[in-house]
Amino acid sequence: MATRPDRGRVEIGTDECKGCLLCTAVCPVHVLVRTKTLNKQGYFPVEYTGSGCTGCGFCFYACPEPGAITVFRLEKSA
């Protein structure tokens, strides 16, 4: 049985993340988690677990950094 693809996907710019965790706090489906490896700036950045994103965009607006988060949405297939 084919599972339905996720409606969204996020990319986190690891070195642009300041580890504030605002994105994880607002994500309704809890798919953003803190990593245990320090980034270039000296913060523990957040990463996407890889599945379950709904593409709601909450994390994008909660994140204070201009380019740390990009949210993608699934193209409606024809």
Partner: protein
Amino acid sequence: MSSAPVYKPFLQRADSFYDTFQRKSGNKEVTHYCPGCGHGELHKMMAEAIDDLDIRDRTVLISPVGCSVFAYYYFDVGNVQAAHGRAPAVGTGVQRSRPHSIVISYQGDGDLAAIGLNEILQAANRGEKMVVFFVNNAIYGMTGGQMAPTTLPGMRTTTTPLGRDPRLAGNPMRMCELVAQLEAPIFVARGSLASPKEMKRTRKLVRKAMEMQVEGKGFCFVEVLSACPTGWGMTPVDAQQWIEDKLTPHFPLEIFVDKTDQERLEYVTPESPPREKLHEVLGIEADTKTMPAANPDPAHANPRIKVAGFGGQGVLLLGLGLAQCGMMEGRKVAWLPSYGPEMRGGTAHCHVNISEDEIGSPLVSRPTVLVAMNQPSMEKFEGELVPGALLLLNDSMVPGQPSRDDVDVVRVRATEMAEDLGNVRAANMVMLGAFAGYTGALNLETCLASLDTLIKRTALIDLNRKAITAGFEAGRKARG
């Protein structure tokens, strides 16, 4: 078999941000803000609106003093960084000189509600065409967490270590409410960055205020309750919650003014009388009477003159007379009175330039001529004279000697001569004549003709003519 799902970017870095931030130090990919700082969140909302409205080319962002002082490193728009609290005044200048621009004044609560309180209220009251984004984080962030006008009662800051006591430091100032009671503002609203729901609402407020700028409608004020995790000593996540639990009850999230149907604000240029009528409005003659130019001794071709005396000695009028004569003889002139507490007694003085060339500064700080009507004036200003300058003294009121020995001292008994002519107040005109007679910088005929402009009461003109003539003779005699 179904094809692989395709994902398209939905929310991404706004074009209105520079690709890299050319800050002097630090990572060029990220802002300088602390983790979880509300400034960044609001920046993104603004950048998104600028992108969507396609106004990057005509947006001018005025950055404040405060943590957001470096906003100009981030926004790829026109940028000016203003002195503390002065962003609305700078924005006024930008808007008035470039009416097509979209002006954003971005300010914190220390900047806007403390040092800049006057500027913001005046700009709001004038209804300047600009949008103000007011970041209320209830504290001075940049300087290390001091009390702001918006600090909550009981809130601990470095300057209120026991908590803000309203009996000593007042209650938090509600800026939206203050601005909203003025006539001119067309949109006044408060939003918050506490939660996805509030962020969505705040994004709409930002968008609406920006749209009203595009439509050229007038003054918009959007206050945003924003986290300062560093200043509040909290984690970013706790700080979000604190906005909701503590800040919001004090600062209601409302739209206070919304004049959406406001007509486009046409730019009002002050009504000026036609050029031909200007002299009537100003009460001056239509044309300066022209007189043949004198042929002065080269030392006095371009005099920089300081005239000083007691208030009431007609010092300012004497300066004005010198300038008037210079103008009538076709030279460039400047007259700058120094109004001070001296207007009521004490010493008064003015600066006069008469020059063949354009005059840079009207200020005379190194005079080539000092006309001193009394002793204190001589003492006060002789030190400024250039070597070889003319020190023209009213001998009647300067009993003492000057301390300078490298200047040309000429004494004229101006007050006594004026008294002999019937009125001590004509002493200033004696000195005007004496200056002309001694230096040859002005013709006697010019000085006499200038009286028609200088003296309003025709009855006094004859006396003043005599005073000028007597002074001129005295000056010429002194020259030898």
